[in-house]
Homo-oligomer: 351 residues x 3
């Protein structure tokens, strides 16, 4: 993809003096941008870097100092403008249709402009909405329902009964709808609790590579509209994950967890079963949640507790050796005082 600088300025509403006919072939960082790429500099302190760089053009804030000889494009919000430019360089999906080496069951229903890659398998009774794109090797099980404009990555697996809204992205290698992990110990054996439910994923949800979402024991495991989940995350059976939640990589939940809208989870955090995390709570990376988290709370630690408290405790822990030393010195001093006082007492004139 190639755009003239004029086209780009038009799209972002940028103000620019100079030759707008130069061609831009891509975006890059301030450090690495080459002479046919555009970049951005958020603050004036990058002046030196901008002047020394090779970028074809640089998006800067309105107050950025003049720099003759460089193509500065002035906007009110350089970061946002640059994101818009990045979007211009995202390759659009090409409708490739059903590849001859894909396997689509006779009973599957594909809407218009659906693409299914080679070695992908679409089972009976599955339905795929318009313009959805199934990459090679993905498996769409029986009774799976996929909305419009969805993207299913290579070798991802959607097991029977999984329901996806519109514009859902399931990245490569993710497995959705596996059996919940439930066993009871009966007659000297672990006995599987049947896992009869399904997974329901709302519009605009995104689930990362090699992540897992288990189906409910009964009813639904829910991931609601707009929630974004990173790679290698495990969502257990009967979870109800709210809207617009952010979950970073390697997070893990246990069964029957509830998470409120717009909560945020750092990477590698985890949570015990049947707990809830309130709306807009913020859970630090690697935190281990063993009791409910209030809405809006900011927690961190193992176990998780208010972040400020965890860091206070860590600071006191660091001072513990010196505290122990003080206590030891006090013990000595106390003993000396006891002796001194006893000596004094013995020297007192008798009544």
């Amino acid at each position: 993809m190639t755009y003239s600088l004029n086209e780009i300025c038009g799209r972002i509403g940028g103000w620019f003096e100079g030759d707008g006919s130069i061609l831009i072939q891509g975006v890059n960082t301030l450090d690495d941008a080459t002479c046919d790429e555009i970049t951005f500099a958020e603050e004036s302190r990058y002046y030196e870097k901008v002047s020394q760089g090779r970028a074809a053009a640089i998006i800067v804030a309105e107050g950025f100092p003049d720099l003759p000889g460089r193509n500065l494009v002035r906007v009110s919000n350089p970061r946002f403008a640059f994101m818009q430019i990045m979007e211009m360089f995202v390759a659009p999906f090409e409708v490739t249709g059903v590849h001859p080496d894909a396997t689509v069951a006779d009973g599957a229903v594909l809407a218009e402009a659906v693409s299914v890659g080679a070695s992908a398998v679409v089972a009976d009774q599955a339905s795929i909405g318009a313009r959805s794109f199934i990459e090679p090797g993905a498996y769409i099980g029986t009774d799976v329902s996929i909305g419009e404009d969805c993207y299913i990555g290579a070798n991802a697996v959607l097991m029977k009964g999984t329901q996806l809204g519109n514009r859902v992205v399931i990245h490569a290698g993710a497995t959705i709808g596996g059996e919940g992990f439930g066993f009871v110990w009966l007659n000297d054996h672990h006995h599987k609790v049947p896992q009869l439910g399904s997974v329901q994923i709302g519009d605009d949800v995104e689930i990362g590579c090699n992540s897992c979402v288990d189906r409910a024991t009964m009813g639904l495991t829910r991931i609601r509209r707009g929630t974004k989940i990173d790679n290698q995350v495990h969502i257990a059976h009967n979870n109800d994950i709210g809207e617009d939640v952010i979950i970073a990589g390697q997070f893990g939940s246990s069964g029957s967890v509830t998470i409120g809208n717009q909560a945020i989870f750092g990477g590698k955090a985890c949570i015990a079963d049947h707990l809830s995390v309130g709306e807009k709570a913020c859970v630090g990376g690697a935190s281990v949640i063993i009791k409910d988290v209030e809405p809006g709370a900011v927690v961190f630690g193992m176990p998780a507790q208010p972040k400020r408290q965890t860091f206070q405790e860590l600071a006191y822990l660091k001072r513990l050796p010196s505290l122990a030393k003080t206590v030891k010195a006090q013990e000595k001093e106390l003993k000396r005082l006891q002796e001194l006082v006893a000596e004094l007492a013995s020297k007192l004139p008798q009544e």
Copy 2:
């Protein structure tokens, strides 16, 4: 699947007054059960919910209060009875045979009633026991041996030489038999230690989605009969995991770990190499094991230690700020006492 309430009562030995001819189409939770579903209520405190719900029938304990107008089925153990009903609704596997889009090597041996899905690949010298079911996209490597009534999920991978007993379940995306992670630093390079062993998995073992079990450097990595492993678990080379062990999601082991029968691991726990965990030990979620765990021990923490001790230390840690304050106050008081005693001494009549 549909059953009459009479059929269900017959299966679980339940006691019921009323119209047993009504049809039940599924199971659900007390909250969500609709008018053609059956549910259960373990305790009398759910009386209100039961009376307000819409379920076609409710499994209750023998002592549950009467509720005219609702179809109560009385049993001695409602939870267990309900699990039996759930099992009635598990869809049986249909033998689908080898799909024309599967690839089965000429040298592979398939017993009767084996199913292999589209895009699945069965390599040379692999053998698959009667009634085993291979989902689409799975890969069964050379010399792999699969017992009877096994289930291999979509896109799962069994690498060469892996041996499975009977009734083993490998969920979607799991990879069994990868190379152990072993390198030695020689001549300024990491040099791979050849990984020549295999993986042996006993009867009735279950391994979750996207989990990994590495093959042994030499000999076998063993997962013994009846052990149940959740999603995204990593079992390293040369582990010997006992019988009927429970391992929750995202657990990770290092090389040459030994785990005793019926041990239980919470999610995200991990263990350093060459350690052992005794029979029936219970390891809390997210615990980090850096020394052996005794049989029957209940441990938690980073590093893992007896759970009671970890929580005692955490409680003391919480009181540390106040302890530090006390010590500071004592320091002041000690100084004051020293001065007082010195003053007293100076006032003593001289000998």
Copy 3:
């Protein structure tokens, strides 16, 4: 594979008295080696085991005691010699060519002696170097470039634009080149930051089963020459992982992390975004890095800090209950002393 003991001695330069014509069919541990296998014993304290074992031959150090009737092969470094023997038993890759059930796009370029397994898919513009081996079900995306002598495991996924050097090993189920996890909150929605970069993997790198490496937002996510990565590891967008780094299982990084050459990470460690870990640093398992780690530092803990300090703090934490008790006793004693001193003062003869 079968070798005579003479052949083996020739390869490792071992010194041996006896019948060198006996045939060795494999390697095994000292405990498990059978009468057609070779094993090794590093130290003289294994004398008993060696004498009782059934191994066809045993590699020992030059100073190992004599043991008539057992085939001892003496070398200067038994462990290294044994690794060389293990390498003799690694099955060489057989060139199998492109399987008729593989899908290779017309625009893909395959060098000589490339193998592509059944159900594997090679997309347009992909190029695969000489002798590289693609296992069944793997997906090689558009514009992916694979060097010579690479190995791509079953169901692994290389997304568009991924670049691999020579002798790179990507194990089964790994996904390379997924989208970085970047969103901004705009107009009440999480808005995806376009992920336009790629992944570049150097020569001799190895990446474990079900691991993920995300592509850069712009530019490259880099894993440099000789680095070895275990199973279920997550490398985030724009990471720059140095040369000869060792990363054990379930490690996770956040965006824009930099790691120096020869750093070592224990399993399940993780690191927050934009941080760096210096050359030859050693990070203990399950450590949580929330600030930069100096070159050569040895760290452990949550949060990670010098290992010695973490263990010192843990030791003090263990003594905290007894410290609290001491402080309480001191409080009592202080009070008693205060009373005593007051009493003394009152008894002093008035001036």
